[in-house]
């Protein structure tokens, strides 16, 4: 059995470095269904374990794929997450839903994988950032496609497009953006998880957002034309 990474002690309802999303603690408490399932899990009921895995695997695999891109790594992260959760069942206090708890564990498992596996040199993000003339003006002319983009989100293919553009971001920038804008973590929390300063996180998030805007631009600019 692999040793539990330091600083990621599942079983506490909030993992070190991953505080609860603000304002949601009360409404995110474990449900009666969770409580019943938890009792069965703690009693060692095999069907309960299978139910937990079958109920939550699809979502956890989707979350893992956002972070680690490689499908094998995503599956391994999900497996790691469930095994960590099984070991920590006695320490889960019910302060959040089981699904939320598992979600946090799989994010932590993904970050561990990203930290430890050997990485190829990351593609530079510079090509996706805005450029400027010597006087400080943008070189590009921008179109405000924001109104039509929000309407377009009703379509499945639009959501898939946005997801695909996020996947194109260089890894360290994608990770920062996912932790900030999707997981809702504060900059200092992200800094602790990624072992960088909060200001470095802020810069990464901002550049990731700028790069994402660049990737989305040609698609939504086309949509916004009358």
């Amino acid at each position: 059995m692999r040793p539990q990474p330091e600083g990621s002690a599942p079983g506490r309802d909030t993992l070190p470095g991953m505080g609860p999303r603000s304002g949601r603690r009360g409404s995110d408490a474990a449900s009666d269904e969770d409580a019943a399932l938890l009792a069965e899990l703690r009693a060692g009921d095999e069907r309960a374990f299978e139910m937990l895995v079958r109920t939550h695997s699809a979502h956890l695999l989707a979350v893992a794929r956002r972070f680690v891109r490689n499908d094998e790594d995503a599956r391994d992260a999900v497996q790691d997450a469930f095994l960590s959760a099984f070991r920590a069942l006695d320490r889960f206090e019910g302060g959040c839903r089981l699904s939320t708890w598992l979600h946090r564990i799989v994010v932590n498992a993904c970050l561990m994988r990203l930290r430890t596996r050997r990485r190829k040199p990351e593609q530079p993000i510079d090509d996706l950032l805005p450029t400027y003339k010597p006087d400080g003006h943008h070189t590009a002319v921008f179109v405000d496609w924001s109104p039509s983009a929000h309407d377009a989100l009703e379509r499945t293919e639009t959501r898939a497009l946005v997801s695909a553009c996020i996947q194109q971001l260089p890894e360290s920038y994608r990770t920062a953006l996912l932790l900030r804008d999707i997981e809702g973590l504060e900059l200092d929390e992200i800094g602790r998880l990624l072992d960088v300063t909060p200001n470095a996180v802020k810069i990464r998030v901002h550049r990731a957002r700028q790069a994402l805007r660049t990737l989305l631009d040609p698609h939504f600019r086309q949509e916004s034309r009358p």
Binding site: Q79, H137, A160, D181, H206, R213
Partner: protein, 79 residues
């Protein structure tokens, strides 16, 4: 304030962390520069799109779980 400087201040502007005088310069530039107004609007849209696209359970991300993964997890638990 140039367009370049405004772009560097966007994140602090959106979180309300700019000093009052810098915020005033930021907003003054926006009133004068339609290109930066479009850039800011699409920057904010990109953030919102990513949140909504990935928060939606029907986003197409959650597919079938490979049976071998379920089996591997349950087998590993029993070891």
């Amino acid at each position: 304030m140039t367009c370049r400087e405004l772009a560097d201040f966007i994140m602090s502007y959106l979180t309300g962390d700019l000093a009052p005088e810098v915020r005033a310069e930021f907003e003054r530039h926006l009133t004068l520069c339609g290109n930066c107004r479009s850039y800011l609007a699409t920057y904010q849209a990109a953030v919102e799109l990513s949140r909504r696209a990935l928060a939606d359970p029907a986003a197409g991300e959650d597919g079938e779980v490979p049976e071998e993964l379920v089996k591997a997890i349950l087998d590993a638990r029993r070891r």
